[in-house]
Amino acid sequence: MTDTAIAHGAVVERRRGEGWTASALVGPATIFIALCLLAPLVMLFRYSLNEFVPSKKMMVEAVTVANYVKFFTDPYYTTILWTTVRIAVLVTTACLVLGFPLAYVVARTQSRFKNLLIISIVLPLFVGNSVRAAGWMTVFGAKGFVNASLMGLGLIDKPLEIMFTEKAVVIGIIAVNLPFMVLSLQSVIEGIDRSVEEAAFSLGAPPATMFFRVLWPLAMPGILAGTILTFILAMNAYATPFLLGGPLFKMMAPLIYNEFTQKTNWPFGGAIAFILMTVTLLLTVAANLIIQRRSAR
């Protein structure tokens, strides 16, 4: 009995030691996040309940949900939210469709240039979003690369309107997000044993059946990670819609920036920021649950 008690005490002692080590490891990051993320968020939420006097451009202390009501009752704002969700879903789907085959090839290749392939996928991330958008501007412009080539070849006689349209924004965000999707998928596909694919084929499964019944379910963690990452990035895209979308195209992040800086309407800007965050979170969680439930079946 005493022996057990002593042994038990030692275990508790050891666990306590582990607890200290764990908290020492988690501590710095937690403190950083609490100070630099949670505290500003709490302040911003408080601001979002304040009132704004437009004629003086001043924030007045209050506790009201008027800013949230204003957003959801004005079709101008709800349209922007809907556009943002639509673009994010479209971009995420496109990234998955385009990224899966690429990730598969990179994961399965035996080539000695494999590292070079991975670097060339990561390389675009070395350049900032706005720099890349500037590059797209020279491609999409009325006298840009695309229009100049098509007109030079005599395929069109009037330049296509790409710059400052939704098309430009979708292409731009796909280009930004695709590497994140490919890298998430590639790391997971690499971990799937090739023999399970061969087993499916040897049992007579055609490629499509093998893909949907074997590869897809096994790659699900990578698909989830990739889609979540891409979706969140697309929902919060700022530089690309701002630079390629032009003055007539609106998404949520540029709208928030505009409320804070141009109108100095911090309460409404804060409210929109929280709406964007909540919608992104809810859609991500919902999509996760649906996909996981489906794949569990």
Binding site: S55, Y76, A142, L248, Q262, K263, T264
Partner: protein, 342 residues
């Protein structure tokens, strides 16, 4: 842990306190909030390097567009010490920042060069640095009959050959108002005109530079902009002519103001005084095409002809009703975003 005040701590604290005012007195650093690009470069070329550096001043720039700089000033409002000593802002923005209570009132007796300042540029809360006027720009190759004012420029008949700059919504509303019988204190009559132009295909550009690019590629043939910018673009080889609109020329004044919590007010005054120096003002006229705000600046006749306004045109210069603009700015933006651009 209990914090103990022992002899050593107390001595250390006292020494630090004693050193602090000394450091503040020796502060020769001026933090200038300004737009980046040409304007910042020319501030260095015409003011900082020739006039302030020889006197030992060290100028540090905080470069950004004015909305984020204004947001920063407001965010720092409650701080005892702000992070900038002087901020470059348009007259309209200086007015607005003053209304928000973040600007120091200028003591003109501390500015030796203030005696030469054009009286209209002497704001209680800031000093006008340069000015220009909103004029009509057109490409003579694409428009056989030159426009005479805002009415035949902001006209649906120009279709998609008319360019409008998104960030210039205030002046575009003013110009459309003047064209449709409004005034500097009433832009409402022009709203219908702008919507008609948009329906007829008018192109909207996000920035001044994008607008210039469109003029260059001949995507558009006309629009409205500061005369100074038109001069810069002419210098860059863009084929445009300018017309001082018959309805009136709304003025654009850019100046400098000092936040109430500027850490180095002496530095800010030194900057303001150097900025009014005739040589600095002449430099800006030549390099940037803006008109000097001091009377003793000597601008050569050929430069004057291109950047300035004739006596007859000067009669038509209209200063803004800053109170009206500030009070209605949020409403203007709402209309612009929701009704005009929708």
């Amino acid at each position: 842990m209990v914090f103990m005040i022992n002899r050593r701590n107390a001595l250390g604290g006292a020494a630090a306190l004693a050193a602090f005012p000394a450091a503040a007195q020796d502060n020769k650093r001026i933090v200038v909030g300004t737009w980046g690009g040409d304007y910042s470069r020319l501030l260095a070329k015409n003011i900082e390097t020739p006039l302030l550096a020889p006197k030992g001043w060290d100028v540090v720039k905080d470069e950004a567009n004015d909305p984020p700089r204004r947001a920063k000033m407001l965010a720092e409002k409650s701080l005892r010490r702000g992070t900038s000593d002087i901020q470059g802002l348009s007259a309209a923005n200086m007015f607005e920042m003053n209304e928000q209570g973040v600007l120091e009132q200028i003591d003109y007796s501390k500015l030796a060069n203030a005696k030469n300042l054009i009286p209209a540029m002497k704001y209680p809360y800031g000093v006008g640095h340069i000015y220009s006027g909103k004029v009509v720009l057109y490409n003579p190759k694409l428009m056989s009959t030159p426009p005479t004012g805002f009415a035949d420029t902001l006209d649906p008949k120009n279709g998609d050959k008319l360019g409008i700059i998104d960030i210039q919504y205030q002046y575009t509303l003013l110009a459309a108002g003047l064209a449709s019988g409004g005034s500097m204190s009433n832009v409402d009559p022009g709203k219908e005109r702008l919507v008609a132009c948009k329906k007829a295909g008018a192109r909207i550009y996000p920035s001044n530079e994008a607008f210039a690019q469109a003029l260059k590629t001949e995507e558009i043939a006309c629009g409205i902009m500061w005369k100074a910018r038109a001069v810069q673009w002419q210098n860059a080889g863009i084929a445009i002519e300018t017309v001082a609109p018959k309805e009136g020329v709304p003025m654009y004044v850019s100046g400098f103001a000092m936040p109430k919590n500027a850490p180095n007010k002496a530095g800010a005054y030194a900057y303001l005084d150097a900025m009014m120096e005739a040589s600095a003002q002449e430099g800006f006229a030549i390099d940037m095409g803006y008109n000097p705000t001091v009377t003793n600046a000597q601008v050569k006749p050929d430069v004057q002809k291109r950047i300035g306004f004739t006596d007859e045109e000067k009669q038509r210069l209209r200063d803004l009703d800053y109170g009206y603009m500030a009070k209605n700015d949020a409403a203007f933006q709402d209309w612009w975003n929701k009704s005009f651009k929708a």
